[in-house]
């Protein structure tokens, strides 16, 4: 049966909770929240996002705001982002590293007029806030805005039409990883060309109490494309198909960006930053293990914790795995000994009493369409 990570009766509720129940959403505990895991079927919902457009309530995500004149210097020093000299509207995917060079969280960094907004994983929000607050220096102030800001993701090849009609032409024309201050259905919002699905898509950050009106407007505007609400189950399948890391599964405080294939998130910079020395040492020495992708057969479904073999020898462990609705096969992300990570053949995964042959996949399992309707790849 499905495992529940949290069963606290006092779990937090999204401002869209009632709308999810009305829409037939199956609500489950998730990272301290009660969120919709699916509305109809994970397979159907993945198809909706890959072929049309879907709406995700991701209001459980945390938002931490940094203000004050030293905010750029401080973000550059505490995170792997490089924001000094960057203008309003820039969005960066970045990491928070600890003093040992391990990953505290993977985050989005938004440069806004007068502030920098960090979007963090729900399960890590309190930890991140405490860490940043304890490390920040100079004239910069850290505020947890998570309970005021709701987040809705609009993802899929038809998402541009929906954004154009609910937010406007400027938002619809945003480049990948750019954002603007605008209005969604008449309410103030930050809109960005970002997402966690590999499809063309946008994310909308808005006021907690305004989010139901924006959600309804998006459903109405998307009706001609048969827009659907999409649960967190499909969100996880979609990100796995893109080989995007999930914090807690594929990366954690004992993972170096070098082994996770996330070196590209550590921007080249002159100044010091937390975790710099251990990170550079890990880069110099080379990783002991590396994250790889493996594709299996349609009836071979890997799960986290399963053993990865190479030439019959145990070389690693699955960290994310499941059935890919788009590929129609089992897929896995997992760490293997670095000396085997460049191997092309002879991988397998132990599934109960047998070994399932696995094909190594470099990059995503499904081609990325983030830069357009499939014609431009990431």
């Amino acid at each position: 049966m499905q495992e529940s990570p949290e069963t606290r009766p006092d779990s937090l509720r999204s401002p869209l909770h009632e709308l999810h129940i009305e829409a037939g959403g199956k609500i489950v505990p998730f990272a301290g929240w009660r969120m919709p895991v699916q509305y109809t079927s994970i397979i159907e919902e993945c198809k909706t996002v890959r072929s049309r457009v879907g709406l995700f309530d991701v209001s459980h995500m945390g938002e931490i705001e940094i203000t004050g004149p030293d905010r750029f210097v401080e973000v550059d020093r505490i995170m792997t982002a490089k924001v000094t000299g960057k203008s309003n509207g820039v969005v960066q995917y970045a990491l928070l590293l600890n003093d040992e060079g391990g990953i505290i969280d993977d985050i989005l960094v938004y440069i806004r007029p007068g502030s920098i907004l960090l979007v963090v994983n729900a399960a890590n929000k309190d930890k991140d806030f405490a860490w940043i607050s304890s490390r920040v220096r100079g004239d910069a102030r850290v505020t947890d805005r998570s309970s005021e800001i709701a987040q809705i993701a609009v993802q899929g090849p038809r998402s541009r039409d929906v954004i154009r009609s609910v937010v406007g032409n400027r938002a619809a024309a945003l480049d990948y990883y750019r954002s603007l201050e605008g209005k969604a259905a008449g309410h103030g919002a930050v809109i960005s060309r970002t997402g966690y699905t590999g499809e063309l898509g946008w994310e909308i950050y808005c006021g907690w109490d305004q989010s139901p009106a924006i959600w309804r407007a998006l459903l109405e505007a998307g009706a001609e494309h048969d827009v659907r609400p999409i649960g967190l189950g499909a969100r996880d399948s979609l990100r796995m198909e893109m080989a995007y890391c999930l914090y807690g599964n594929d990366i954690d405080e004992n993972t170096s960006p070098v082994e996770a294939g996330l070196r590209w998130l550590v921007r080249a910079k002159k100044d010091d930053y937390i975790g710099k020395e251990p990170y550079l040492a890990a880069k110099r020495e080379g990783p002991k293990r590396r994250l790889i992708g493996l594709r299996l057969g349609p009836r071979e479904i890997p799960r986290p914790g399963y053993t990865i073999l190479h030439g019959g020898e145990e070389v690693g462990t699955v960290t994310s795995g499941g059935f890919s609705p788009t590929c129609g096969t089992g897929i896995a992300l997992g760490y293997v000994r670095a000396d085997r990570a460049d191997g092309d053949e002879d991988f397998s995964i132990a599934i109960r009493r047998r070994r399932a042959d696995a094909e190594i996949v470099r990059g995503s399992f499904v081609p990325s369409s983030v830069k357009g309707g499939g014609e431009e790849m990431q």
Binding site: M1, Q2, Q38, I42, I43, D236, R299, G322, P325
Partner: protein, 131 residues
Amino acid sequence: MRIPEDLKYTREHEWLLMEEGTVTYGITDFAQSELGDIVFVELPEVGDAVTVNDTSGTIEAVKTVADIFSPVSGHVIEVNERLVDDPDLVNRDPYGEGWMIKVEVEDPPELVDLLSADEYNGLIEQEQANS
């Protein structure tokens, strides 16, 4: 959530149809709903011996995997071959076309504790209240 009156149930969320010397079993509507989209069902071979409370197969869903526990000891006389190509029959019709395994039971039968439809309904209400 459908719970037909004429079937018996187990705490592992399986249903049983008891006939003369045989037991047919599958998973309940609640179980298929909790598992979500089922993409593969691994069933035993006809002739295999099954033992009460042992695993007699596996259900792979998109997000999770579950064992099929044998509610009875005996020999497999039939499995639902249609599930090989159409595993989502379990989602669509768990008590009918989504049946899984038919066993010839030993005499006297060795069975798990069985629940009536009412008792099973009480069990899932309790589980839902706890989640």
